[in-house]
Amino acid sequence: MLEIKNLSASIQDKPILDGLSLCVHAGEVAAIMGPNGSGKSTLAYVIAGKPDYEVKSGEIFLDGENLLELEPNERALKGVFLAFQYPTEIPGVGAMTFLKAALNAQRRARGESDLTTPDFMRRVREAAHALKVDQEMLRRPLNVGFSGGEKKRFEVLQMALLAPRVGVLDETDSGLDIDALRIVAAGVNALRDANRAFLVITHYQRLLDHIKPDVVHVMSKGRIVATGGPELALELERNGYRDYAEEVV
């Protein structure tokens, strides 16, 4: 479903991704683990289309369509969702205003009419309840004054409402205490289904205790250096990334 072929990308002329190839199938949860600086977050941003990154070569196909030819918003409308490691604070834009704009952009792209206010409110309420996002938080400006945990829960709330084809979770566990981690993981697990894939980027095994991956990829120096089952994550937890970092010359 998501197929990345020989992807090389750099930021400000500094190469980060170096011929990375990766396949994620429908229904699959793929974990990407790797040491700091291995390019995990860059991969997430390049999939979502962040303008700062320059793609030197390669392709990213989602359902057969090359995402690299699309604008970031067009990628989102095709079903890409990036849960940010550090969600951006946007003063002056209400969280609800933002959610409505995002949902309606998606509906218009599908040729559907905008949501009515009661329908919109009902959807948000349901998703918010599951993720323990309270109404007061939704009245605030987007991500402004949200704690680290609130920001991550709000990311997953957006993902639940937008129901993407592929969810890319960039270090969603960072800054979360164990209770928040459980809530966020349960939110992600509730979205798992046969037509959806997840790319779960994490530095630690901890998140994978709660979101069980089908496949684990190890990333080092901008490419995938090992692929295995969930046991690979446990091995990394014991031995660290040293073995894999050394394999790449």
Partner: protein, 423 residues
């Protein structure tokens, strides 16, 4: 008068001729004194500090003929124009070509009256304020009696009759007696691109009076010079806001003085400047008495080749101990050619005060744009959302839901018109 010797430009010579004709018809020592003050500098150039970024002598090639009093057919045209437009709740007063037209205006609520007649202001040293006093053909004052609490805003609509090149002068007083509360909205409408407007609004707030004032400059005048002169007695409070979304060259200048103890002022504005337009906001806020509070919060969105100016000077006189002042000006530039000139200043002569200022000029935050786009929101919609948020934060300081709604609607309309010109 020897002062006329200083006049160098065509526009200044025209102004002198216009004044001489007026003096021939109806001589007035007060106007003559005002014109003499104007003559000392003439139209200000860059060398006049308060006009450093807006060189009027260079900008005004000639002064348009003074607009004649409206004819009955002008008044009927204005009536049908007024009938077509949306209006705010509350009473509406109409100034046509700078003249109060009772026949087009609503009955005022109890406690509010309009008086036609002359008044003058002392203590403001500005050539354009003097010119306004010298050449305004008519003047009126809206007064609110002692302790009257006027719930709905009073709208003052400034319309322009006639066509072709004209100068329009108006001079409006707003006087709140002790303990009076009222809100005013001044709408500048219907000026076409050959109109040169000179407007002055003189606000006096007696002890404990509370006024809210919103000015909206949305038409297309070649020149819009608007002076607001405000004086606050003890415990008086003023919240004043200005939205500028039209006009080739707009200058809003506010001269405010807190003469009484414990006065409170909140000034704000939003300038939306595109094309080759210029918009200048210049403030002079003087704390003359103890324990005054002043807040200034101005924002600008500058696109294309447009130029914005914000100059804010807060003066704390020796007697004004325990003054609390904070001034902030922020601008977003949407084009590499857009310019914003910011000059905040503090002049403090008292030793026990808390005063600060800050000014920033930047562009839209690409991280914020990307975040919105990553959720499927188009580039143009994302930018419009962020700009509405930026402008909206200044509008929200008006602290009146009705007026905030009306101002935000104008902001959205401007953002839409800019997006349509250049998607």
């Amino acid at each position: 008068m020897t002062a006329h010797m200083a006049f160098r430009s065509t526009a200044e010579r025209t102004l002198a001729k216009q004044f001489a004709e007026q003096e021939g018809r109806e001589p007035s020592p007060i106007r003559a004194a005002a014109f003499a003050r104007f003559s000392e500098t003439g139209l200000p150039t860059r060398r006049v500090e308060a006009w450093h970024y807006t060189d009027l002598r260079a900008a005004v090639t000639d002064a348009g003929p003074i607009l004649p009093a409206p004819s009955p057919s002008d008044i009927e045209a204005a009536r049908s124009r007024l009938a077509r437009r949306e209006r705010l709740p509350g009473a509406q007063l109409v100034l046509l070509g700078g003249r109060y037209i009772a026949d087009l205006s609503d009955r005022l609520p109890a406690g509010v009256a309009v008086v036609e007649g002359a008044f003058t202001v002392a203590g403001v040293d500005d050539p354009l304020v003097a010119l306004n006093e010298a050449l305004s053909p008519a003047r009126c004052t809206i007064s609110v009696t002692r302790e009257a609490k006027i719930a709905e805003p009073i709208t003052i609509v400034h319309l322009v009759n006639g066509s072709g090149a004209h100068s329009v002068y108006s001079r409006t007083g707003i006087a709140l007696e002790a303990g009076a509360h009222a809100s005013f909205v001044e709408l500048f409408e219907g000026a076409h691109p050959e109109v040169q407007r000179h407007s002055a609004t003189i606000m006096t707030l007696a002890k404990g009076a509370n006024a809210r004032h919103v000015a909206v400059v949305g038409d297309a005048a070649e020149l819009h010079i608007e002076s607001q002169i405000c004086e606050l007695a003890e415990t008086a409070e003023l919240n004043a806001f200005g939205l500028v979304s039209g006009g080739a060259l707009t200058r809003r200048q506010i001269f405010l003085k807190m003469t009484g103890d414990d006065a409170k002022v909140s000034l704000g504005g939003l300038a939306l400047i595109d094309g080759s337009r210029r918009a200048d906001t210049t403030l002079q806020v003087v704390h003359s008495a103890p324990r005054g509070t002043s807040r200034e919060f101005y924002r600008a969105i500058v696109d294309d080749d447009a130029v914005g100016v914000f100059q804010g000077k807060v003066v704390v006189e020796r007697a004004a101990q325990k003054t609390d002042g904070a001034m902030k000006s922020q601008a977003i530039l949407l084009s590499p050619r857009a310019q914003m000139n910011e000059k905040p200043e503090l002049e403090i002569f008292a030793d026990d005060v808390v005063c600060g200022h800050g000014a920033t000029v930047g562009s839209l935050d690409p991280e914020q744009v990307f975040y919105l786009r990553s959720r499927g929101i188009s580039n143009s919609e994302a930018k419009a959302m962020l700009l509405e948020a930026f402008g909206g934060e200044s509008i929200d300081r008006v602290e009146n839901e009705l007026l905030i709604g009306a101002l935000r609607a104008r902001l959205r309309a401007w953002l839409k018109s800019v997006a349509e010109v250049r998607p």
